[in-house]
């Protein structure tokens, strides 16, 4: 595989929920290390696109490949394994297990992959340090601030050193200053480890951290190639 071959290739994806056409023939590439913003108004289908790309939701039709491997045909177990090992996720809120300490939360994806507890927590501690939230390692998410919690979530997304991180409105619940810090840490860490980021947002200021953007409206992509570097 050449270095420039896309990580994720989506061709003509469609997905319908009930009578709502959430995706209507979307084609998109995600290249290694790039930060791609998926923009669009609420209900445009941008979250559905992300869920399809991440293999959480199976599209009704179309083709999705990860490093050339057909994901549309993969079983739930295979896609789950892929998400555990290759992908990371950051959501707007409600993603940290409230009973576990922040350190244990970050170690969770590693432990689900079978890494021993000590080793998992050592690596988790490193990522908490990288994201400047080592101070809350022993606290529960409820005892940390919103911005800290979101940085813990990013540490958790990055701890498996995934090739793609999917972030769905990662700053949606934060104020501008905290949102900025979270975005800066996310993009810095991603660029340093050549992790691609699929950034779902409706905020231009957040999208400005990306390398390029796609705009989803009514389940279709408006301009794909429109934005130059």
């Amino acid at each position: 595989m050449t270095a420039d071959a896309p990580l994720l290739t989506a061709r003509d994806l469609s997905k319908t929920y009930g009578t709502t056409r959430a995706l209507d023939g979307v084609s998109l590439d995600v290249r290694a290390g790039e930060i791609l913003a998926v923009m669009g108004p609420s209900g445009s289908g941008k979250s559905t696109l992300m869920h399809c790309l991440a293999g959480i939701v199976r599209p009704d039709s179309g083709e999705l490949r990860y490093r050339g491997r057909d994901l549309t045909a993969a079983s739930d177990a295979e896609r789950s394994a892929l998400r555990r090992g290759e992908f990371g996720f950051v959501f707007q809120f409600g993603q940290l297990v409230p009973e576990l300490t922040c350190l244990e939360n970050v170690a969770l994806p590693l432990r689900m992959e079978g890494v021993r507890r000590k080793e998992a927590e050592r690596r988790a501690a490193y990522w908490l340090e990288r994201l400047d939230v080592a101070g809350v390692a022993g606290k529960r998410p409820g005892q940390a601030s919103g911005g800290q919690g979101q940085r813990v979530a990013i540490a958790r997304a990055l701890v498996t050193e995934p090739s793609v991180v999917f972030a769905d409105e990662p700053t949606g619940a934060l104020d501008t200053l905290n949102g900025e810090m979270v975005m800066r840490l996310l993009t810095e860490c991603a660029e340093q480890s050549r992790t691609a980021v699929v950034l779902v947002t409706h905020e231009p200021a957040v999208a400005a951290y990306s390398h390029r953007e796609v705009v989803v409206r009514d389940g279709r992509i408006r301009t794909s190639a429109g934005s130059a570097r």
Binding site: P204, A205, A207, A208, S210, V215, S227
Partner: protein, 174 residues
């Protein structure tokens, strides 16, 4: 930005040579365009004429003669008046962009494409500013943010207009 007011305010902290004033201005505000010496001296001359500054001392060194300027009481009052006066919010009721969209609609061209191209351009600029902001210091960040927020406002308008293009088309063509 009012250069005369800025220089007056800088002089309030203590008498300066013209050269020092330029250096200080550039350090605080000149990220985009450094001042020319000429601009500084022209402005100082005007302020001197209006009695807002005075020459505090003249140094005769090995080189050309250097004047040290100090702010006068009238100058301080002027700075105070300037700071306490609000800047009038600028309004762009008839922006070029709006004109473009309406014209595209009237001539049957793709108005959405106009908006898309503009959005890409705006976002590209925002991206550049964001990158600069993350690499620069706090002063850089604040200045970039100011620009970013303005761009964001434009983008918000673009977004809203995109969503309302159909209705706009009806009204324009009727």
């Amino acid at each position: 930005m009012s250069l005369s007011h800025t220089l007056l305010a800088l002089l309030e902290r203590g008498p300066r040579h013209g050269y020092d004033l330029k250096q200080e201005f550039d350090a605080q505000f000149g990220q985009d365009r450094p001042l020319h010496y000429g601009q500084v001296y022209a402005t100082l001359a005007r302020l001197l004429k209006n009695g807002l500054v005075e020459v505090d001392a003249v140094e005769h060194g090995g080189g050309p003669e250097r004047k040290r300027y100090a702010v006068t009481a009238a100058g301080v009052t002027d700075v105070e008046g300037w700071l306490s006066r609000p800047e009038s919010p600028e309004l762009y009721l008839h922006s070029t962009l709006y004109t473009k969209v309406v014209l595209a609609l009237l001539t049957g061209r793709d108005a959405a494409a106009v908006l898309d191209v503009q959005r890409a351009a705006h976002l590209d600029l925002m991206r550049t500013l964001t990158r600069r902001k993350t690499r620069g210091d706090l002063a850089d960040a604040l200045i970039c943010d100011h620009a970013i927020f303005h761009l964001e406002a434009d983008l918000r308008w673009l977004e809203l207009t995109s969503a309302r293009l159909d209705r706009l088309a009806e009204e324009v063509r009727s």
